[in-house]
């Protein structure tokens, strides 16, 4: 706790130092993350700096607690209110616990948005989702189809049969699969997010469907285990493992050829977009209301739904051309 306090104080002092020489009209935007020291968020901060450079009159305050707790984030937010920042963009550790602190910020005229991990509707002006279920569902089958010009059998390796997000993505995928003629989804199996069970299920798929061309695993444990099973069966190049995964975890399997490409949101784009949105709201260029279209620089614009939420873009595709740039980031 003592360490946390001193860190907070240090952050605050550092923020002041940056703020003092700045001109009066400079917008100070605080990027509050779940915890400091996580590669994903460090990358998001890079994106935020990129946006700040593009906008010119923006200072980014990258901050967060030392561990992923809501209490830590509340302290950080209170410190930011005291500093009178112009905007707070937060990836929340708890969707309800932060609401009172963020409400207080909004009452003081601070623009508040959430990104990545959302806050309940009355604690923020808008929420930026990295992607949407429909976009993800489409992307996972597109990844498989892109490498199968002549079509073929593909199978889905999910986490547990009751995982809500997995089932939603698979449902969305099935809605659009007719747009990819020749691609047959032959089975959906469940690896329960256990490396050994996922591995076994992937082996089972290759045995049951000798003509299998791709395994789609929209789960980070499953995709790694399936890629290993394909390598061990010496079917790299024959069966393509794809889906959602993290570059650091998949780098080896991209190298081995077991996976040609996979997708996940790009944290740099996410930090960039969150900063653009916070800037446009704080500067009065746009208003967060259902149906609004808020510009976010090179990422296009965000369309808000009835709940003031919007989806940034398609998940970002990683393959052998860009994996090395990202594998050390997250």
């Amino acid at each position: 706790m003592k360490l946390l306090k001193s860190l907070l104080a240090a952050t605050a002092v550092a923020a002041m130092c940056i703020a003092v020489p700045a001109q009066a009209e400079t917008k100070r935007i605080a990027l509050v993350v779940k915890a400091l020291g996580i590669g994903f968020f460090e990358a998001a901060a890079k994106g935020a700096e990129e946006a700040a450079k593009e906008l010119g009159d923006v200072e980014i305050i990258y901050t967060g607690p030392t561990d992923t707790t809501a209490e830590g984030q509340i302290e950080v937010i209170n410190a930011l209110i005291a500093q009178k920042v112009d905007a707070i963009a937060v990836s929340a550790n708890d969707q309800d616990a932060l609401v009172p602190a963020l409400k207080k910020a909004m009452q003081r005229g601070i623009t508040v948005i959430s990104w990545d991990s959302g806050v309940a509707a009355d604690g923020r002006q808008l929420h930026l989702n990295p992607s949407s279920n429909a976009l993800i569902g489409n992307m996972i089958i597109k990844l498989a189809a892109d490498h199968l010009p002549d079509g073929g059998d593909v199978a889905v390796l999910s986490a547990s049969a009751t995982a809500t997000n997995q089932n939603t993505w698979i449902e969305e995928m099935n809605k659009v699969k007719d747009n990819y003629p020749g691609i047959n989804v032959v089975a959906t199996v469940y690896g329960d997010d256990l490396a050994d069970k996922s591995y076994r299920e992937a082996q089972g798929l290759m045995q049951s469907y000798p003509d299998l061309k791709a395994i789609i695993a929209p789960t980070s444990v499953g995709i790694v285990a399936a890629a290993q099973a394909v390598s061990d069966a010496e079917k790299a190049g024959q069966v393509n493992v794809t889906g959602l995964g993290l570059p650091s975890e998949m780098a080896g399997h991209i190298d081995s050829g077991a996976s040609k490409s996979f997708a996940i949101w790009n944290p740099i784009d996410l930090g960039y977009s969150a900063t653009m949105l916070a800037y446009n709201l704080a500067a009065g260029n746009a208003e967060a209301k259902p149906g609004a279209e808020i510009p976010m620089g090179r990422m296009g614009s965000l369309t808000l739904n009835d709940n003031n939420e919007g989806a940034m873009a398609d998940p970002f595709v990683y393959d052998s051309s860009n994996i090395d740039d990202f594998k050390d980031i997250f």
Binding site: Y190, A195, D196, Q228, G252
Partner: protein
């Protein structure tokens, strides 16, 4: 004589496994091809190795719930060692994993022996502690395939005389255990301590020490499996082998090792593990709903235990035949 042989646990299990294989073959013939059976055996090897250690512990009337956590912690430590010193030779990695596993087993054993805490409580506690330590040393981060050296990953898959090294290690462990249990004083002491601790004391066996030895053995095997597991799946993170301890206990129970201690055989543990391994490998290929899969695995365990209860009920330790008839 023939009748008692027919009643033997191993034979019944062997027949059950054959019946199971035939049933699977009727739906998916390729399953019983020798190459596939070798693959199933290889996949079951970690379970076999752990079941052997668990068997020694259960024989002494204890239980070791920390095996999967021990496996995961050892796996993480050797994976981290490998990323820091990629040149470290495999024998050193093997020694570190066995030693580290044995130390964790020793912690369990000493708590049971010196402080006389019930083993289920001790190992439930250490299970959580070991998982927690993995989080502390790794910060929750994964060690991934590209961070491990090629030789580290290749060892368990290297093929020797037609079988992967992983399978050979299981075979060596089974043979070693058969000798240990059947031919050494320690092996006999396991049975004596579990069968009748009071009598064991009178024959000069130190009950606590024997139990501690069983825990060290189980821990060492769990540590060894930790390296093999991490190398085989080419990934190490906090939750690997989550819940695997229950599968290990289930393999022992199916194999006819009595939870009350003192009864069981190496063959039983081997067959129990194989039975579970075959079920786990067959379910994905015979196209059964995942919801049924859980129910089927569970039912197999209950049937085995029910069978256990009926087949061992009559085998009381009757010392005075007359007294029994007089009742």
């Amino acid at each position: 004589m023939t009748l008692s042989f027919l009643k033997s646990r191993e034979l019944v299990l062997g027949v059950a496994i054959l019946a199971l294989l035939l049933a699977i073959a009727s739906r998916f013939p390729a399953f019983i091809e020798p190459a596939n059976l070798a693959k199933v055996f290889n996949d079951t090897a970690p379970l076999i190795i752990l079941a052997l250690g668990q068997m020694a512990v259960i024989l002494t009337r204890c239980i070791d719930l920390s095996v999967a956590a021990n496996l995961a912690l050892t796996g993480m430590v050797v994976a981290m060692l490998n990323t820091l010193y990629p040149g470290l030779p495999i024998p050193v990695i093997l020694m570190v994993s066995i030693l580290l596993g044995a130390v964790m087993g020793l912690a369990n054993g000493l708590l049971v022996w010196k402080l006389d805490i019930p083993p289920i409580v001790v190992t439930l506690g250490t299970m959580t502690v070991y998982r927690g330590i993995i989080f502390l040393i790794s910060d929750g981060a994964w060690i991934n395939a590209h961070e491990m050296s090629e030789s580290f990953k290749a060892f368990p898959r290297a093929v020797f005389l037609g079988l992967p090294v992983l399978s050979w290690i299981a075979i060596v462990a089974v043979t070693g255990f058969a000798v240990l249990i059947g031919r050494t004083a320690l092996g006999r002491a396991f049975y004596a301590v579990g069968g009748n601790p009071h009598a064991a004391v009178y024959t000069g066996i130190n009950v606590g020490q024997t139990q501690c030895a069983a825990f060290v053995l189980s821990g060492a095997l769990a540590g060894l499996t930790g390296y093999l597991w991490v190398a085989r799946y080419a990934v190490a993170y906090v939750d690997i082998a989550g819940g695997f301890e229950l599968e290990v206990v289930a393999a022992c129970v199916i194999g006819g090792i009595s939870i009350a201690g003192g009864i069981g055989s190496v063959g039983g543990a081997l067959l129990g593990a194989l039975f579970l391994g075959i079920v786990k490998n067959a379910l994905p290929v015979i196209n059964i709903s995942p919801f049924w899969q859980l129910a089927i695995s569970g039912s197999a365990i209950i049937v085995a235990v029910a069978f256990n209860a009926t087949s061992t009920r009559s085998k009381g330790r009757v010392i005075l035949k007359k007294a029994e008839h007089a009742q």
